[in-house]
Symmetry: C2
Subunit: 624 residues, 2 copies
């Protein structure tokens, strides 16, 4: 039996929250009030019903329970909850969706109680898995993670990736709540109010399910209480009514993402009854356990033998294992290809810091967001090509201010026989297009090792591109590398052109240098290991001295190194020629493919000569 006074207070709080949801969206002229109203009782019951534990003064308290709105469009509800908790003023949340307000259309890191940015559906549960993994296996804390899910978004495959992984890792500290309001954006969802279709599927994936009426406080409170006592993740499947509380909105199509006009708002609040604007819900304080903390130690030393080629993908794994003592926040995630990406080397040396994510890249990136938001430094690896699977999650991770390192192996046609499906040829374009991202592309084991450490030091999103084949060691031990740097590897005062390359094509450039030198032709060779940010100063200097730049990359031309260099030099009147993958890639030996795509030593030599001839033809400036 529940205390009637408590139930009455919850009802009072819910009325206030519903009022706020309607008011703030009407004030904004947009937003999703009806999707908020369906989940109001579920969320008020969670936060203020006695289960949720949270330090209102410190959203970063490691013992706080976590609440993620996977259905991020219910942001009016999210903000109203925190107003009802008393940590933000009711008048402040009325700035909802205004320019500069922390109360954005969908929750972002701009609001300090947002655990992770959501709004692209089907991502919150993965993030929750990351937070729950952290509690159970890393920090060893007793906080719980709650994720509010929409029924429409259950169609996203990423949800089922999260559900399967949560069961696999026995995350009994993770609770999902499906707001089963039947209606999606443009009509009924696939299963409508068929609660059993959700229960059956989620149960089959190894979760405990609890079915409730999502507007009955006794059922809601019991569900949260019961959810504490299973040895597996729990999904509360709550049948709800979209627009609940306002008769002309309830269970009506056509009201998704529609704010009420002023007069409809007046009609609506009349139905809500008396609103107590002073009521505030009580949230239980969290425990005060201490997270497991590992003291940083100096990293081990490593010495790569210059006479022995090493694949940078393996150098990656070794580097991660080496630097881990210095960065004990590091966690490695891999999508069932750790023996290809090099992550296996780390897994073998630090198995407790490695999590197998199986072939489910979307969830892997979501989990990384969750870990990053709990202070970890996730290094996430798969084939470069397969990060395209998680582009939406990668894009969204930026809006969570997540500190994640992505490591993509098997870049380019140089992987050879496996053919185009396995070739990362768009990965530089993808990661360059993330705001403030860092994109690194080392050519040898020494630079890989150094850049993995730089990546760990850098706060924010970093992408490291590695190569399948073994490549010769170019650098001496101890050579320094920096985000935004480059290396001029060959230069003279007679250089007729600059060849700028990175990764596997850097070696082609060095070979082209040898060949041209035999013919008495000198070129400058730059290792652009930092593709973003680029070392503009060095490039400008090379442009001034050699008056032409040739970029060479094992990547499609669009969004890759060529375009990056062109952007860096856009204001200079110097031509930038790009050698890149322009023909349909296929199976073959790496050398054959590099040659076929004209990104080889031979292609560079011939391009340099072509550029020399062109220059001869126009010694004087066309534009003077």
């Amino acid at each position: 039996m529940h205390d009637p006074e408590k139930l009455e207070k919850l009802a009072r709080i819910s009325r206030l929250i519903r009022w706020d949801c309607l008011a703030m969206s009407t004030e904004a002229g947009s937003g999703h009030p009806t999707s908020s109203l369906s989940a109001t009782d579920l969320m008020a019951g969670l936060l203020f019903g006695g289960t949720f534990r949270y330090d209102l003064d410190n959203p970063e308290n490691p013992n706080n329970d976590r609440l993620i709105f996977s259905k991020g469009h219910a942001s009016p509800l999210f903000y109203s909850l925190w107003a009802a908790a008393g940590v933000v003023a009711e008048k402040d949340i009325m700035t909802f969706r205004r320019f500069g307000s922390p109360f954005e259309g969908h929750p972002t890191a701009a609001f300090n109680h947002t655990v992770a940015a959501t709004g692209s559906l089907g991502q919150g549960l993965s993030i929750g898995v990351g937070m729950a993994l952290n509690a159970k296996y890393l920090d060893k804390l007793s906080y719980r993670t709650y994720v509010l899910l929409g029924d429409s978004e259950m169609a996203e495959g990423s949800q089922w990736e999260s559900i399967q992984i949560a069961a696999w890792y026995k995350l009994n500290n993770l609770v999902g709540v499906i707001d089963l309001n039947r209606l999606g954006q443009r009509g009924e969802t696939m299963y409508g109010w068929d609660v059993q279709s959700y229960v059956r599927r989620i149960g089959a994936f190894g979760w405990q399910t609890i079915e409730i009426d999502g507007h009955s406080y006794p059922e809601i409170l019991d569900a949260y209480e019961n959810a504490l006592h299973f040895d597996k993740p729990v999904m509360i499947v709550a049948k709800t009514i979209k627009g609940k509380g306002v008769s002309f909105l309830e269970d009506k199509n056509g009201w998704h993402g529609v704010a009420l006009k002023k007069d409809d708002f007046q009609k609506a609040i009349k139905e809500l009854g008396r609103i107590d604007h002073s009521v505030r819900g009580d949230i239980q304080p969290p425990g005060d356990l201490k997270a497991v903390s590992i003291k940083p130690q100096p990293a081990a030393a490593i010495a790569w033998q210059a006479d022995e080629p090493v694949a940078t993908r393996n150098a990656y794994g070794s580097a991660l294992a080496r630097i881990y003592p210095q960065f004990p926040e590091i966690v490695s995630l891999d999508a069932e290809v750790s023996n290809s990406t090099g992550a296996q080397i780390f897994r073998d040396s630090h198995p407790e810091r490695f999590f197998e994510m199986f072939i489910a890249e979307q969830n892997m990136v979501g989990v990384a967001v969750g870990l990053a938001r709990r202070g970890k430094i996730p290094f996430v690896s798969t084939f470069a090509a397969f990060f395209s699977r998680a582009f939406d999650q990668i894009r969204m991770s930026r809006y969570s201010d997540a500190n994640i390192k992505f490591v993509g192996s098997h870049a380019g046609v140089s992987i050879g026989q496996d053919g185009p499906s396995q070739m990362g040829l768009e990965d530089l374009a993808m990661f360059r297009a993330i705001l403030d991202s860092v994109v690194l592309y080392p050519c040898d084991a020494v630079s890989t090792d150094a850049l993995v450490r730089e990546a760990a030091l850098h706060k924010g999103i970093v992408y490291i591109r590695t190569t399948r084949m073994a490549t010769p060691i170019v650098y001496g031990a101890g050579e320094p590398f920096a985000v935004g740097g480059s290396k001029v590897l060959r230069r003279s005062d007679r250089d007729v052109a600059t060849v700028a390359a990175a990764g596997v094509t850097l070696h082609e450039a060095l070979r082209a240098y040898e060949e041209l030198e035999k013919q008495g032709i000198h070129i400058r060779v730059i290792d652009l290991y930092s593709v973003k940010p680029l070392d503009e100063a060095t490039l400008r200097d090379a442009a001034h001295s050699t008056r032409s730049i040739i970029t060479v990359e094992d990547h499609y031309p669009e969004g890759g190194i060529g375009e990056a260099v062109r952007s860096a030099l856009a204001s200079l009147p110097v031509p930038v020629y790009s050698l890149a993958v322009r023909k349909m890639p296929k199976s073959g030996a790496p050398e054959e493919l590099i040659d076929y795509e004209q990104i080889s030593q031979k292609a560079i030599v011939s391009k340099v000569k072509e550029v020399m001839t062109e220059k001869e033809g126009k010694r004087k400036c066309e534009w003077a």
Copy 2:
């Protein structure tokens, strides 16, 4: 009871196929023999056991059953099957993985019996759903679609998207076969040989499941026969042994993706016993039904009122409805946002050509590949941002030579209040990076209408970017537009700079023109509605005349219009300045955000003036 002679012949064929799988991968020095051996009996039983119907002389026969290897790495098996069917020579498949061979590392369109390119896991079932949808709802043919699935790839969420949609559309002509060999690339899969865990989950999603021993021909043949008789999709869950047939490979870890060395090959084939290289399997011929065929008719006329702003997303829906009679192969797919993308307009006019794909973008794109490979022209729509969810499928669609049109609405910060999660800001980079893609970005209803038609005419991948807000009509009725074209909207012989824009920023450019004109400053304004291919000639001409280009785009700078223009003009000594989204996007009014990101009329005006001042400073050529 099965005819013992038939069973003996199947066993003989399987031995040959196993021999071929081992031989071709050993010859190639790479490949996935063990993943082929586990599925050999399943596939030989399908093709040569009497169920599969196929016209060996004509892979394009519309009545052919379709076979998709979702586990594309079992390509040795795929090619060996066709050799055993007699349509390719055994010696030819020994060119496996060689440069120029149609027998690539993973199946591609280079081999004429490949139904769709695979190799990125978890995509084949979606493609199969597309083919099965086509048979049941469009062509109304009785062919069946079979998809061979790996157990590891069942971890991909995309599989569960396909499974749910197949059940939703009651695709009783679709049969999946899970080759449950327990071992993934680097160890055991999540569920090992726990057949029930698959059966339970797939059953819960509404499929009929059949469990069999994947090496027992009687069970295999019965399963295919039974699969014909259910009113829903059928999944055959077959327990198999990786490396089956060779004792030292069977169920052993460490053999994934490893070809046998010559001496191991000799040991292995000894175990296979006598090989009959002359045996050929019989495949049943298909029926000769005629696909439903709709005669093209002239498209309806449309007239947009120049005095009424229209959102290009709505113009898209109207255009699709208008041109459909002329292109009766058109099919529209949408991810539960048809009222936002404009696809609803088409759905309402041609409901039989519209398929709701719910919020599951990966499967949606896979379905489009299946439809395209059956001669349809799928127009696939969602928010531009959410195509990032399906980047891997989009990338792979190119290797299937698929003729698909992607239409992304809600591009850029100009969507306003919803905030960054809903803003497509990387979509141009993503679609530009697809080999041979066409990227279109119309600014008004008239150009949208024309470009939707151009997209339908073009064979290959086209992306159309649309805008949320209503924009004024710029063009007169009947104005022609072409892939690779542009429009010079303002020009004089006194232009001090060229402003090149597209979509929503084109209107900012036109407003900047007005403002500057008042001040006696003339600029050229170009509508770059074809972002790829770009109209280089017009841009070069503008560069020559105005000696500076300013690009303006509602997109991140990387991989967008600015970089496209820089690439087009890379050999010209003319500066290209880029105005693009460079600050963290947020919620706000569209105008506020356009202004904040400095892609507004105001920003253009000030950039033009800055460029003028710079030019003053260096009248003479720096480089002469």
